[in-house]
């Protein structure tokens, strides 16, 4: 199964916390690009991760050529055409930057958007987005305003929690359902990405059935006493009873990859990172990106992308 996201990276502050260095990444078969990336470092406001750091919110870069992107040649060789950087903050302090890289637009139907509101306004609009070949859907999306509590971005904003919906052509909550159906988009994931008193951001990942965002997406949340993580929702294109079995387990703080995310607030990549064994056609899940959703210094949820 091919997925919409081709590369995922985690960039972390170095020991002086003044630059970003390579933490970990999932590159699939793109070994040359991986090699080009592992030695990179980014200062504050430098390159895609650095820009997200200085901006304080997610950044979308639709074109690498003649931009501030530092790995343009390697990215072009790897067929990567767009990057989205998601900074993870706790208060004013950066914990990490997660970078998603996409490409091969004609083969993949999907979109990644960053929604935000104007200060003191109670509706979100698309600040920027990557839509691949979905020009009509992009045009509609850029004109829409989502009130707080409405639409997937609006619900994520209101609740402060990630929202995952499938078959969105039939979902009333999804304001753009007719346009999504026309574009072949079937699934949407909305993730609130921290906010100040005045400004909020929500990232949305939209994808078609044939090219999902990831093989499986899970949302884990702390239980009511706050002692364990439980899986609130798990979704994949095809049912996965193995994943469902593992989604019944509970996770203590500090235990395993998800427990580490909870303990540290840092995103984590786990699983088989060995590109020699990579085979996108295998149905088994063998790598995971787990991203924390943090609000006022506390973990609200973890979104995991399984590849």
């Amino acid at each position: 199964m091919k997925t919409f996201i081709k590369v995922t990276e985690i960039w972390i502050p170095d020991k002086n916390r003044t630059k970003l260095e390579f933490g970990s990444g999932l590159y699939g078969a793109l070994t040359e690009f991986k090699t080009a990336s592992e030695q990179q470092r980014f200062a504050y406001d430098e390159g895609l991760p650095g820009k997200a750091w200085s901006a304080g919110h997610p950044i979308v870069l639709n074109q690498f050529e003649h931009s501030y992107f530092k790995r343009t040649e390697a990215a072009q060789k790897a067929g990567l055409t767009c990057g989205i950087a998601l900074p993870i903050f706790s208060g004013d302090f950066l914990l990490a930057v997660v970078v998603f890289l996409c490409g091969d637009d004609e083969d993949y139907a999907g979109a990644i958007e960053v929604w935000s509101n104007e200060p003191n306004e109670f509706s979100l609009h698309v600040m920027d987005g990557y839509y691949g070949t979905l020009e009509h859907f992009e045009s509609i999306s850029r004109q829409i305003y989502m009130p707080k509590g409405q639409g997937i971005p609006g619900i994520a904003w209101a609740t402060g929690m990630p929202v995952l919906r499938e078959d969105i052509g039939k979902v009333n909550e999804f304001i753009r359902s007719a346009d999504a159906q026309q574009a072949g988009i079937t699934t949407v994931l909305g993730i609130p990405v921290g906010n100040s008193d005045q400004q909020s951001y929500v990232m949305t990942f939209l994808s078609a059935k044939a090219t999902p965002i990831a093989k499986r997406i899970q949302i884990w949340i702390p239980d009511l006493p706050g002692k364990k993580l439980v899986c609130q929702q798990g979704f994949s294109k095809n049912s996965n009873n193995l994943a469902e079995i593992f989604e019944t387990i509970t996770v203590k703080k500090g235990d395993g990859a998800l427990g580490r995310v909870w303990l540290t607030g840092m995103p984590v990549i786990s699983g088989n990172l060995d590109e020699a064994q990579y085979n996108p056609e295998l149905d088994s899940l063998n790598s995971m990106l787990a991203i924390p959703v943090i609000e006022q210094g506390s973990l609200k949820a973890i979104v995991s992308f399984l590849f």
């Binding site: 079995i245 387990i249 395993g256 990859a257 786990s270 088989n272 088994s284 899940l285 063998n286």
Partner: protein
């Protein structure tokens, strides 16, 4: 008609080549050099026959590689009777090593025995590989069961039946399903 790649020390010596041709083999004669493995892969003979005083160290190394990549019956006629040489050659899984025994009337039977021995060795090798594979599968299944017992509070029976059902639902072997379970558990480590 079987194809023989004949490796001679003295390329001008036609005795063995003629004897093989009379028997009915198709013979390609060469000397041993650095391109030996390439020649074997390109010509794809049915049998390799060497007529040497002493098998050189490089040849022993090449024979090991050949066994892995392109196994075939190998017969060596040699005059070196030292134990050390014999041991090295046998470790290279040569089908027949004839010391000072190159006589016209024996060649055909030597080759036939070598081919038969080679075939039997291959059958044993395959059986060994299959047994190793099954043992590895068994270990992985036990490991996957242990994971299910620990994470799901299953009994051993429940763990086994869950694993079996998961495998059947996906139309894969129990061993492959066990590896999927282990991979899933590793993701959460």
């Amino acid at each position: 008609m079987l194809n023989v790649l004949l490796v001679e020390i003295d390329i001008t010596d036609n005795l063995l080549e003629n004897a093989l041709s009379i028997i009915g083999f198709e013979v390609l004669k060469t000397q041993y050099d650095a391109l030996f493995l390439t020649l074997v892969k390109e010509t794809r003979p049915d049998i390799l026959i060497f007529n040497l005083d002493t098998p050189p160290e490089n040849l022993i190394h090449d024979l090991h590689i050949l066994n892995l990549q392109f196994p075939l019956p190998v017969v060596i006629f040699s005059s070196d009777s030292r134990n050390e040489t014999i041991n090295k050659v046998m470790k290279a899984e040569v089908s027949a090593l004839i010391i000072d025994g190159l006589t016209g009337h024996r060649i055909n039977s030597v080759i036939q025995v070598a081919v038969a021995r080679f075939k039997q060795q291959q059958v044993l090798k395959e059986a060994l590989e299959e047994a190793r594979h099954q043992l590895e599968d068994r270990k992985q299944i036990d490991r996957a069961k242990a994971i299910l017992i620990k994470t799901q509070n299953f009994s051993e029976d429940e763990a086994y039946h869950t694993l079996r059902k998961l495998a059947m639902d996906r139309n894969i072997t129990l061993g492959e399903m066990a590896r999927n379970v282990i991979a899933m558990a590793d993701l959460l480590k």
